[in-house]
């Protein structure tokens, strides 16, 4: 591909990315929704965060990894506990990153 073809492809990628990001907010905003739909939309954050997070913790290098070598998974347990107890995003991130960094240093 020439640079120009790459650029045109990227513009296409940008469009198909932007349209789904824009249209729901554009049309739904300010509308009174059926209570079921409204409840449904309110549960999307928890559902989507869990759906994104769990694979990112359980899959390492394209494979399931439930062994001790999967730092992402085991560091998530204390980090999650800190989030639950402190309700602080910063404390959670700090503890998570510090644990991962320290264990990597030791191993």
């Amino acid at each position: 591909m020439t640079d120009q073809q790459v650029l045109l492809t990227m513009i296409g990628m940008g469009l198909v990315t932007y349209i789904p990001r824009l249209l729901p907010a554009w049309f739904l905003r300010g509308k009174t929704l059926h209570p079921f739909i409204e409840a449904w939309l309110n549960y999307v954050p928890v559902a989507v965060l869990a759906a994104l997070l769990l694979p990112s913790l359980l899959v390492a290098d394209g494979q399931f990894n439930l062994q001790w070598s999967n730092l992402y998974l085991w560091a998530a347990l204390p980090a999650g506990l800190v989030a639950w107890k402190t309700r602080s995003m910063f404390a959670t991130i700090l503890v998570g990153m510090a644990l991962v960094a320290i264990i990597r240093l030791i191993l």
Partner: protein
């Protein structure tokens, strides 16, 4: 003087603080994308432009591999569409908080709606900070860090690839852990999170690696809405019974 201090506090508290974890995550991942982009034979300018035009981490990382393989443009665009379709749900979910926004604000905000900015805003909006300008400012800062990471990556080429000693690669997973747990406020949320997470991982294991997030979200949110409306109906019925007796 006081006003100036307040504005500074405001900026630090309302805009910079929520953006920091995203910046910490985006700089190294943007950097990695920059390195991969140039190594895949994409020009430096185009590699950087993709971070401006597309601004979607997983899709951009996949695209570098596709461009390197010489896949046809149509397939690249179609795959990008499928991978990023999940933002449809995020946009719909945030729309309930945008009642007072004008069209330009919605258009600007949605351009930079990623998994990470969504996670941050779903929390902020639910806590009551629904103003457009701070939300858009957070997004701009986040994309800026993504672009800066990309530029640094294209400059260094493959000199430095390893961000692991600093555990910077764990900034975004840790942020998602925190944001998920902070949004769990009752038992229904726990069921929804378990359902969404388990279905997503199950589908991934079954080879459905591009649709798993969106399908799991639909099932999880539907479960939540059913639990919510049925528990409301029950309490309504109980109320009317009490009133009747």
């Amino acid at each position: 003087m006081l006003a100036e201090k307040e504005i500074k506090n405001n900026f630090a508290k309302r805009i910079f603080a929520p953006a920091v974890p995203v910046i910490l995550g985006y700089l190294p991942v943007g950097f990695a994308y920059g390195v991969l982009g140039v190594n895949a034979g994409i020009s430096t300018l185009n590699t950087i432009l993709m971070s401006l035009i597309v601004f979607a981490g997983s899709a951009q990382l996949m695209a570098t591999a596709f461009f390197a393989q010489g896949l046809n443009p149509f397939s690249i665009i179609l795959t990008t569409f499928i991978v990023n379709l999940r933002h449809l749900l995020m946009s719909a979910s945030l729309s309930t908080h945008m009642k007072k926004w004008n069209k330009a604000e919605v258009a600007g905000f949605c351009y930079e709606l990623t998994d990470e900015t969504f996670a941050v805003h779903s929390m902020r909006f639910a806590d009551g900070d629904k103003a457009a300008i701070p939300a858009i400012s957070i997004n701009v800062i986040c994309q800026l860090s993504w672009v800066i990471g990309t530029i640094l990556g294209t400059m260094t080429g493959n000199l430095i690839q390893d961000v692991k000693p600093f555990a910077l690669d764990y900034a975004l997973p840790a942020m998602f852990i925190a944001l998920l747990i902070l949004q769990i406020k009752n038992r229904k949320h726990i069921w929804v999170a378990l359902t969404g997470g388990l279905i997503s991982i199950f589908l991934w294991g079954a080879g459905i690696t591009q649709w798993n997030v969106i399908l799991a979200t639909v099932v999880g949110a539907t479960l939540g809405a059913i639990l919510e409306t049925s528990s409301k109906k029950n309490s309504d019925q109980n109320k009317s019974k009490e009133e009747g007796s």
